[in-house]
């Protein structure tokens, strides 16, 4: 298990959120969408210009910009590839 930033996750990779290190409006928006520690996320894909990123979470799809994903830490299975 390794901790990485959400931005670094690859397509179709799954992980569990361990920390969301941002307050203020962004922090609140991120949390009200369900991005809180303990939640499982899977990268569904990225926009044509690589940003924003689309995530599967709690059975729905969310998008956020890469610079917003930078505040979210995720624990993922060790990358064996």
């Amino acid at each position: 298990m390794t901790r990485i930033l959400l931005r670094k996750m690859k397509k179709n990779q799954t992980g569990t959120i361990t920390a969301v290190k941002v307050g203020g409006e962004l922090g609140r928006r991120v949390r009200e969408m369900g991005l809180v520690p303990g939640t499982q996320v899977t990268i569904q894909g990225r926009a044509p210009l690589n940003d924003p990123v689309a995530l599967r979470i709690m059975g729905g799809t969310l998008t956020l910009r890469n610079n917003e994903a930078d505040f979210i830490e995720v624990e993922v299975e060790n990358d064996t590839a």
């Binding site: 920390a19 969301v20 290190k21 307050g23 409006e25 962004l26 922090g27 609140r28 928006r29 991120v30 949390r31 009200e32 969408m33 369900g34 991005l35 809180v36 520690p37 303990g38 939640t39 499982q40 899977t42 569904q44 894909g45 926009a47 044509p48 210009l49 690589n50 940003d51 924003p52 689309a54 599967r56 979470i57 709690m58 059975g59 729905g60 799809t61 969310l62 998008t63 956020l64 910009r65 917003e68």
Partner: protein, 729 residues
């Protein structure tokens, strides 16, 4: 009969709130605005049984009850001040965990809610079973599975809501634990608030303490003003100090924020309830569904943008091609009306007022109606189907550079990003943007696009002065309009609309087939709003503009001179055709004199000393003043100013010949004028819409002054540079 109960509808965006509201109230709905903000307030009546009626209030869709967006403040203030006896919280059954986050905040406040598990049929198809009874027991609120689309469960939901409303229970806030540090602080702060009965008439004490800890700006500033008035300054300070202490403590020990702890624990509470056998699934939660398969194509790296381009082109064609026929009908009708009045009334100011002021004004307003209807129908399809969110997703990277949002692209294209649109529906289309600063920047810059009314004017000038490669030239102008709109948007975002980017975090809702009923209601609502709000302003402005181009009329002495000339021609020995031609020349000259003598004419010639810098003479100035009513009027006003009589903007080439042959005109002047027309003040229909959408007349005035100044600077630079290079004639 007056409704006995008020029942509010609340829920996340995309939970199906509008569908339910339309099903409940049908056509019996009323759309207004919440005082002071541009958020829509929808109300409607629902017949519960023969003797019971309920007034349904549709609250804006929100994900939570913080105070960051206008929608949230409106929803929260409504709940706190109106205290509705029952609130239906609509949730998406297939996304229950996330949707219960809002429910948990209603319960913290003590709002009497009934939870509607909407789209239960979709959930069932996905192999999700929800034990509504168990969920109701655990949450201690009624839970009713429904499908707003098919109507399944809706009567039961309403019965449950009415039952709650009848009970008139005292609001019972839910007490949750948010971890030791916060719980401890909450207890102390709650005791302080109770002791001082601080804001006791409005908020439950524990909830108020929680909002202080969450650093809720609206509540804290309210606390500050109330404290100053009631002499509770010390109490307010104590609450802030305690909040700061918890905040510092959490940062030092766990590197987190109080509001984060609170949110985490709310989710913890929801998870703990759902874990007790409420939801059972046949498939994995993140299984791939049809909607995701569609997304693999529609947001594909290469196919996605291509399809998007086709869809936007399609919307554009749909709007402007199909609305053409009704627009022509309306145009013909108003021409006929004008003609009839022309016959019925004697010549004079009254006739002129009716034809040029009132009929032209009303015609101008109604002429946009078909365009607006078609455009909103098209947008409603894109929005309700979920595609609009994908457009924002794909375009965001580019628009973000300019301080805008992925959704800004729609407003630009409709306004004339593909030459020939219209800024009126474009400005109205910015409503789909939920980020306030990005939305303002979009609606202020959308009028820079080349709308359909500027096209004939630009075409005339290009056709006269830039005869080589006209299509290429037009394309360059379209490109230029995009560049200017984006750069100005960036400039606005760095100055008057300064501020961080609004968080983009957004849902990509599953694709859904829109319902015709939903589309029809949506389209009618927007169109009616336009007619009602814009109509009154525009009619007034049209009359004002007419008056300024008509009064004061020519002095009697001057009119006598023209009349004498006519008499000479009439009495002369000329064949009929020659006589008519000469009479037309005299009529034209009189019209030119009258225009020059009018208020607008005096303004035009008065401004000549300034406008010379950009190469505009008084004739051009008057035409540009006329263009404020509608850009295509520039041609007919120029025609009058060059004493050509009535010039038809579409077919008459006498103006082109006159301009082309005039020694006063050359390519540099024409280019300066083209640039000015592209970027100067929006027409007043657009200004009226900007005022309405921005929620303040100041933004309307701003767009008139700012755009005109900007356009004038640009035109001056081009003209002076051209002159300096010796390119002028």
């Amino acid at each position: 009969m007056t409704p006995q109960y008020t029942i509010a509808l609340a829920g996340n965006p995309n939970a199906g709130k509008t569908t339910l509201f339309n099903r409940l109230t049908g056509a019996r709905q009323h759309v207004g605005n919440y005082p002071g903000v541009t958020v829509e307030k929808k109300e409607g009546l629902y017949q519960v049984d023969e003797t019971t009626q309920a007034n349904i209030v549709d609250l804006p869709g929100t994900y939570s009850l913080t105070a960051y967006s206008v929608e949230e403040v409106v929803a929260r203030d409504y709940l706190i001040h109106e205290m509705p006896p029952a609130v239906i919280n609509i949730t998406d059954a297939a996304n229950l965990e996330r949707h219960l986050y809002l429910a948990s905040q209603f319960m913290e406040l003590g709002v009497p809610i009934v939870i509607a598990l909407n789209m239960i049929d979709v959930a069932r198809d996905r192999g999700i079973t929800i034990d509504a009874k168990k969920l109701a027991e655990l949450l201690t609120v009624p839970v009713i599975p429904i499908s707003a689309r098919s109507g399944e469960g809706v009567p039961e939901l309403m019965l449950a809501a009415v039952k709650v409303a009848r009970e008139q229970k005292v609001w019972q806030p839910l007490v949750l634990s948010y971890g030791d540090d916060i719980d401890e602080a909450l207890l102390e702060m709650e005791a302080l608030i109770r002791a001082g009965s601080f804001l006791a008439d409005l908020y439950p004490p524990r909830w108020l303490a929680l909002k202080y800890l969450e650093k809720d700006e609206q509540i804290i500033s309210k606390g500050e003003t109330t404290a100053a008035k009631t002499g509770a300054v010390e109490l307010h300070q104590q609450l802030l100090t305690r909040t700061q202490w918890v905040s510092d403590h959490l940062m030092a020990t766990m590197e987190t924020y109080p509001e984060a702890m609170v949110a985490d624990h709310r989710y913890g509470y929801i998870k703990s309830i759902l874990r007790q056998g409420v939801i059972s699934r046949v498939y994995d939660e993140n299984r791939i569904y049809t909607s995701d398969r569609i997304d693999r194509v529609l947001t594909n790296r290469i196919l996605g943008p291509l399809i998007m381009l086709l869809v936007l082109l399609g919307l554009y064609h749909f709007t402007f091609t199909y609305s053409e026929l009704p627009v022509t009908w309306l145009g013909n009708f108003f021409d006929w009306l004008s003609g009839t009045v022309n016959h019925l009334f004697p010549d004079g100011p009254l006739k002129s007022l009716i034809t040029s002021g009132i009929i032209a004004g009303v015609g101008g307003v109604l002429g946009f109606v078909p365009i607006i209807m078609f455009m909103f129908f098209g947008i409603a399809i894109l929005e309700d189907s979920g595609y609009l969110a994908r457009v924002a997703f794909m375009m965001d990277r580019i628009f973000r550079i300019f301080g805008l949002h992925g959704s800004s692209v729609m407003a630009y294209i409709i306004s004339g990003g593909i030459a020939g649109g219209c800024a009126v529906p474009g400005v109205m289309a910015t409503r789909t943007l939920r980020s306030p600063r990005e939305r303002m920047a979009t609606l202020l810059t959308a009028p820079f696009m080349n709308c359909g009314a500027k096209l004939p004017v630009l075409a005339l000038l290009i056709g006269t002065f830039f005869t080589r490669n006209q299509a290429g030239f037009m394309f360059m102008l379209t490109l230029l309009s995009w560049i200017v709109a984006l750069v100005v948007a960036k400039f606005l975002r760095l100055t008057v609309l300064k501020g961080e980017a609004t968080p983009f975090v957004m849902e990509l809702p599953p694709y859904r087939l829109p319902t015709f009923r939903g589309l029809a209601i949506h389209t009618w609502e927007k169109t009616w709003q336009y007619i009602r709000k814009a109509g009154t302003v525009i009619l007034g402005a049209s009359i004002l503009l007419w008056a300024s181009m008509t009064f004061p009329g020519l002095p009697q002495a001057d009119r006598d001179v023209f009349e004498a000339q006519r008499q000479v021609i009439k009495s002369g020995q000329l064949i009929a055709i020659d006589q008519q031609k000469r009479l037309a020349v005299v009529d034209g000259a009189e019209a030119e004199q009258a225009l020059l003598n009018s208020l607008a004419g005096r303004l035009g010639s008065g401004l000549e000393s300034v406008s010379r810098l950009a190469g505009f003479d008084w004739r051009t100035n008057i035409a540009l003043v006329g263009g404020f009513a509608a850009k295509e009027i520039i041609i007919s006003t120029l025609g009058t100013a060059y004493s050509l009589g009535d010039v038809d903007p579409n077919s008459d080439d006498s103006l082109a010949q006159t301009l082309g042959a005039s020694p006063n005109w050359d390519q540099v002047k024409a280019l300066a004028l083209i640039l000015f027309i592209m970027f100067y003040s929006p027409c007043f229909v657009t200004v009226a819409c900007i005022i309405r959408e921005a929620g303040s007349w100041r933004w309307g005035v701003f767009s008139m002054i700012f755009n005109t100044t900007f356009a004038f600077l640009l035109a001056t630079i081009v003209y002076q540079a051209g002159k300096g290079l010796g390119l002028t004639g």
